[in-house]
Symmetry: D3
Subunit: 243 residues, 6 copies
């Protein structure tokens, strides 16, 4: 059930049977020569939607821009300052809490969001509207054990850390008309640590980290979506069941 | 051209021929018994996409949650505090300015955003990253002269001010499977001024202001999208052409 | 009744008969070669004072500096960042709400304030001190129908959009010793859209937009004050009467 | 020379002969049964104006609302949060610095402002617009040695610490039509330390601290204005002369 | 070399041979019936000091209060809001960057800091003082591979997740006079996920998670300090050596 | 009783007999050629600890970095922006208030903190967690009458205003191994007013103001600590005894 295509009375009815909600959060940032700039938002959204179907969960609109300061050396990348992202998370959570939601599960598609979003949950608890109590949880679809096993099966050591074939494959399944091709040089990108945006671009000139996204196929994406959505739905069920 | 389905090299190439970008901004809020909660985001997004096609403009991801504090009395409505929205606008604009964009046109679907977003432009000018210069402009698709004329032709005095048949019709064209029906009582909602969320709900118990959205039809939506997109594209062309 | 020249016991007594208050808000910015930098604050203040007499309303101190980033290319202009202005509005409103005021009407003399101030009202509602409820309203004296008609009668097409003869005339009535004269070249200033401060100064080199302020006369100012104050007082009465 | 009654060209000319500016800052808060709520703003303003005449200094608009949280237990008191006041001070200073002013002297009428304003100066230095250098200084007219001596001569031990006869006398000189009378009980208010607003009102039920403002006379006010303005002008001259 | 016991000329000399600095960061929060409230600050500090000796690194003062909202259900716990902690990290980093430091390594003793601090680094990069470039890195002493192996060797499965014997042992080595004893019931605390402060206290009534801190001994602490400090020093050397 | 070396149950027990707490606050900034960068934090901490022993008061961790923007021209100095320091003070106070503390006494070692910290108290009162009431007070150990008398006795006119022999002596008593020597030229530093960091360094090239810290001796430090701690303890007792 999508919040965006529901009426307020439908949400009112939903609240009589559940206090849970899924909020997809991604990023808008370069994903190498063949990855879409919206990759992290697209993957979080499609997996959340499918998980919402499995779990009969309400899915809120996707937070499409995350914390991607380190990608700002590449045209088209967009970022929220960490402090802005904290405010956005708080406003999302508090809006939902005012209606009686008590279990907010963020399904995340971007590693760079993790620190700021988990910190923001405590800002949200501490500044909660009066008389509201709620729990927030972040789930990274790409670190799920079964998803990682499937990526390993499909791509072996060429999955890498950014602009990975698995995330590219998911976007290919969603946007088959936007599959890109490009010469990758080297075929498998270098790996390593990075700091700010200049440093990132210097170390990873085409934007990839450790990956060979040419291995991605739309049919992989279908499988990854299904596995990830089931994992998200399972975690959501546990989350709702916690006392 | 959608930013989310482009690569960074495609954006780099786009920047050699244009410095303009369109940013859809909507809201996630109740739209009466038959309007979708995502109405303002959906309409801004579809009209921006179509305008982008007409004008060969890059379209950034939609800001789906706006300033909707006054709708918070209805389940499912979400809002950013005005101060958060100011930060979000600044971060969007500054991200794009860092890549060399100089004409940021926001296509807006929600009256409640106007004040805060236009104020935010000056915050963005005053706090611009060094050595960047850019112009920001807000266009409300629903107040365009030709759009208003078409709405008048289609709905006469029953267009109203919130949960209008014209915005509902646009969403029907986009999501024909999510067309809702409900008894409207009264058929045409009351009109008037409002203040905070309790006040809004007290004056407008089902969320509509002055409208009869039962008049909406998907085929109206198609026409409205086309007229609005052309108007947005025309304004965008003027905006780019300004010295 | 001026807050600044009252005692706290007089305010306590006033609160037994009314919960309304008028807050003038202007700007401190260039107004062309013959307009005073304080024009927008002076006009808002004198009209508020006169309206306060007509309506027996308490008038709070004038917010003299508004959002004037676009005027910062001219010496002497001062501005609050939009985010600061939001905080100032909230603090004004919340201070008054703590004493039991429930109808805060801002009388505005500066177009550049409108967006930020109307947005700030929702920040004020959302962050209200506990158990307080209040309504905020912004009235722009210069857009009142009768005021505009009088300006049209007096100045025809030469009223323009900034440094207008009508606002200059109001300041002449208040400060007859500070009437300025200067050669205006061209006699009627150019019109058009503008963005940040450099852009503003480039398009409007002497600071005026579309106006010929040499037409202003102090006796016009007297008439404009009276018409505007009556309009403000009428709106205030309606505001208080709303349920 | 008043900024509010000058044109931008007059300010431009002023800047060729001086980089100094005086900014009055007061408060809007209870001043006991006979003191005006605007006392601290009125006194700072009149003394700044007179000092500006003596010293040929530009005087910016008065910051009428200061940090008066501790007075919020009395109807009509208004306050900026300290964090808002920091932003207001920065925006005032940075606005003036953008035009080339380098010596900003705040003339203060309210003890409660001192801590926050002096702290704000360092926020202003640290966040200065690029390539601007300026010095800020706060002068409290009521702690000047000669002013204190005159207050001692006029009121002996009954000057007290809040709602003092000397500040009341200054307002009587400015607003002779707003001289108030009331029974003071006790004649001389109690003294002592205080914390938040409830604590203040509990300790000082009518708002005075240690004072007998019934001793105030308008003619005292005239003398106090003259002595204070000369002291401010002298300090301003020293401030400008510093290397 | 401790910043606090150095002179500015000694720091000036240090900067001619190194641009690196270590900043200990901990927390002030309950650590169960036998753990010190300052555990996380004390451990981060002592390990940083020892690592500083090994690596000839400057050590800045300890950030003693971190993000511990979830511990606020227990008397004596203190917390910074995540937004405050972001500001504190930025101010620490920017202060050091203004003097020419380019490698800021935070040695962390508290899991609850990780998200917010790593997010804050990107806020620090994005808002860096002009013309400064620097890299920030967070090292959690308690997750080092060799430290974890030693804890496993010493405490097997009773190390747990909060109020662990290893962190308690480190504080025993530092403050042998403050070794506490208490009956632990159950001997090994329960484990599991938690959300806000009420939830934490409900699940973990004495504040421990999964641990049996009665196993801690000061001599373990000595060994843990040495192993952790060597690991920190090694990481620091790598960090400095990165191009 | 040190918070950092206590358990939460010990704090719980303390709260049954007292609601008071002492919070040392200092600065991390240059103190001339022979003064330690941590002087203001070290002195505040040792005096607070000793006062805590005398008064049986709980002592919270030291806020080691204060507002020292004006010292940033000297290597090693660190500063919080005033706005950050306001947040830090609020978070410290609110954390303690949530546990039932009602008397928070800050013992300060740095003149530059006074304005911002006293302002912050009112921010803390105004934004207090619901249903909490508390009083905050700042005590500057170095301005106590008896401390000043002892400094006068020891150093006469060579005490000065920054990098004073008395504060240096206190640090010598605490860190006898970190006593520094350097040629002071001139022997007694110049005095005067200062503004931002460049201005400070220009006027006071080695960082001292008006002082001859070569007069400092560790045994003076012992005496100063004892006198200052007794004064702090006396003030604390008065503070607790206030109704």
């Amino acid at each position: 059930m999508q919040l965006q295509t529901s009426t307020w009375q439908e949400v009112e009815a939903y609240l009589t049977r559940s206090k849970g909600v899924i909020i997809p959060i991604g990023s808008t940032e370069q994903h190498g020569p063949t990855g879409l700039i919206g990759t992290d938002a697209i993957t979080a959204e499609v997996i959340s939607e499918r998980a919402g179907e499995i779990a009969d969960a309400l899915v809120a609109p996707t937070i499409a821009i995350g914390m991607a300061e380190h990608h700002m050396g590449f045209p088209g990348s967009m970022t929220l300052r960490p402090s802005t992202l904290v405010s956005v998370i708080c406003d999302n959570v508090h809006s939902l809490a005012r209606h009686g939601f008590t279990r907010m599960m963020f399904v995340n598609g971007h590693g760079g969001n993790i620190g700021t979003v988990t910190g923001a949950f405590y800002e949200a608890y501490a500044s909660a509207p009066r008389d509201t109590r709620f729990n927030c949880r972040l789930v990274n679809w790409f670190t799920d054990r079964k998803v990682a096993a499937l990526a390993k099966e499909l791509y072996g050591d060429h999955e890498g850390g950014h602009a990975t074939p698995s995330e590219v494959a998911v976007t290919q399944a969603v946007y088959p008309d936007a599959i890109k091709s490009a010469t990758l040089d080297p075929q498998v990108a270098p790996s390593g640590r990075f700091y700010g945006p200049e440093d990132f671009r210097r170390r990873f000139p085409d934007g990839r980290i450790g990956s060979d996204p040419s291995l991605a196929r739309p049919e992989h994406g279908e499988r990854l979506i299904e596995v990830a959505a089931q994992a998200v739905a399972d975690t959501y069920a546990e989350f709702l069941a916690e006392d």
